[in-house]
Symmetry: C2
Subunit: 390 residues, 2 copies
Amino acid sequence: MKGISILGSTGSIGCNSLKVIEHLKEFRVVALAAGRNMPKFAEQIAKFRPQLVSVDDQDCAETLERALHKFGAAVPKIELNSNGLIAVATHEEAKTVISATVGAVGFVPTLRAIEAGKRIALANKETLVMAGELMTAAAERSGAEILPVDSEHNAIHQCLHGRGRQEIRRIILTASGGPFREMSAAAIANVKPEDALRHPTWRMGRKITIDSATLMNKGLEVIEAHWLFDLSSDRIDVVIHPQSIVHSMVELNDGSIIAQLGGADMKLPIQYACSYPDRWEAPVARLDLMAVGRLEFHAPDLQRFPCLRLAYRALESGPSHAIVLNAANEVAVASYLDEKISFGSIPRVIEESMDAHSAVAVATVEEVREVDRWARLYSQNVARGLELKV
Amino acid sequence: MKGISILGSTGSIGCNSLKVIEHLKEFRVVALAAGRNMPKFAEQIAKFRPQLVSVDDQDCAETLERALHKFGAAVPKIELNSNGLIAVATHEEAKTVISATVGAVGFVPTLRAIEAGKRIALANKETLVMAGELMTAAAERSGAEILPVDSEHNAIHQCLHGRGRQEIRRIILTASGGPFREMSAAAIANVKPEDALRHPTWRMGRKITIDSATLMNKGLEVIEAHWLFDLSSDRIDVVIHPQSIVHSMVELNDGSIIAQLGGADMKLPIQYACSYPDRWEAPVARLDLMAVGRLEFHAPDLQRFPCLRLAYRALESGPSHAIVLNAANEVAVASYLDEKISFGSIPRVIEESMDAHSAVAVATVEEVREVDRWARLYSQNVARGLELKV
């Protein structure tokens, strides 16, 4: 039995991960970290009996203990906050760490897991966006494998299946196009959060769903792909594919394109990231292409969806710009979800923050954090200036 | 430089093979065999200067010599007929043999090349349909690799890329559906050869174009796939895909589907069959999925296209039935192209011949030939009974 830890176990990826593990005899949950959803976390702990858990703060820990007592479940060791996340990420019995927290919080714990030589099933794309160079260099030193859980990068990994970098001409990330794919620029500018939260094909968390609607999610994935597959931005293309059946593609040097297809079920890439290089039966519905009938592909519109353009710009401007892009995006999306700024202001917050930033070296955790802190403060100011009149 | 021989160099696959070789510095043509198109063959010989060539008969040899003199080209050693084909297939300097003759004539020469341990780039699907067991057993003994050139099987080979048989749930061969994809059964029954010869996506030889129109080509491919990938008929599916962009797919045991996509250019699979396990830049146009825009998939209609159903029946009935299917199909298609029988009579000739056959062992070349001879005679009789009144 292989030990497994999960950072972010009560989120969408975390819950799906536990469903996958439940059906696999090969894995045992040794440590779990969750944020603030204590009722669900208590259920998970009662069922999977990890040795160690981590929560946000002492209040959460107390709520959790009460909930566990109610279930009649044993209370595991509970640690708090970022120390807790790191303890879960580096638990000595964990061979595999599923990194599935949302946003920047997963950065240091994931880095520590990489340094400890764990297999990382990476669902937290912000981690690579903020610190791709640090992460990949650490993985090279420790021998840690980073396996992407994002369906697109997981698809690329499956398509490559050991093919060498010299065989790759380019990769093609598919994007559903989000709920506003066919909406005019003027209408997009003022869409409400409740509409933006209705993703056409995938059910996900709130932040990533907004990122999908702005296409920033695809932009972050372009940067993520750069680090995972060591490709320059001109070799990473994006194509809009509304059906989300082709999860991504690789064009090889002879012109052949290899694609991975599947249903909209994250359990498949999660299991692959755990089972690789093996492949096991998975608890997912079979894809019936004849029932789908039709797959469509068209070019993304960078005018209506400037976030994708900004992500390419960040990738070309160097690693510290990607940190600014990511931080400003987190700030802008939070502000949008709080109904303080309009949907159309999200890219403005990001672009103004990037404009104000001059590239700096980000070779250490402290340097990464410094840029991240600056970008959050700066973009909060920008967002305040764009606040809607009530 | 690796030596290469081509069986059927003046056909569609043969010509494309020479275009591929022309641009590859790694290969040198050592022997060529062609049927009756001597002007084109003379051109090829003048250009590629093989040491040995083979033609159908003495008349062809003399025509060829005259044509070569006209070009001022040296005359290589010329051999005749099946002995000549075997000499080309087993030329000692040939490491790779492209088997691209049409129909049953390529069977023994290809078998001899397999026995000699050559890499076989196999475009002659009838060979495996007639004698899959013999061929694959011989390849196992000699260590010969059989790499499919058919775009569908080549796609499967690319999708598998070394994945083990235990990972495969099923393979999905795509079919364009041919020119009569949307025609009623009654109208299909009486289509003229000039219409049947207009394939919607691929430009190929006459016999294979008719086989595409009847879907027998896909049926032969199902049988070919059985031998190439060691899968039972219930794990080989066919899906109609009119755009012919997805060349075929593999469903893996976790439900993931890997597909290979490309343009309608046989140079890509030919080069792959020669270059594998390497992959080189290829002289083919890049596929622009956004320009294609849409890929469609639907189920094949076995009522309107009974040849596909007959092929599955042959595969389930045992190897000697596949020989009958193939022989009767060759007879019926020739008779149809001579405008002696209707399009709708092609499956009738095949089905009546299969009905009249009882399974026998086909473990030797002689046993294969015996069934083939019987089936040709029998199906000629059936075809005569179905001849159109003039």
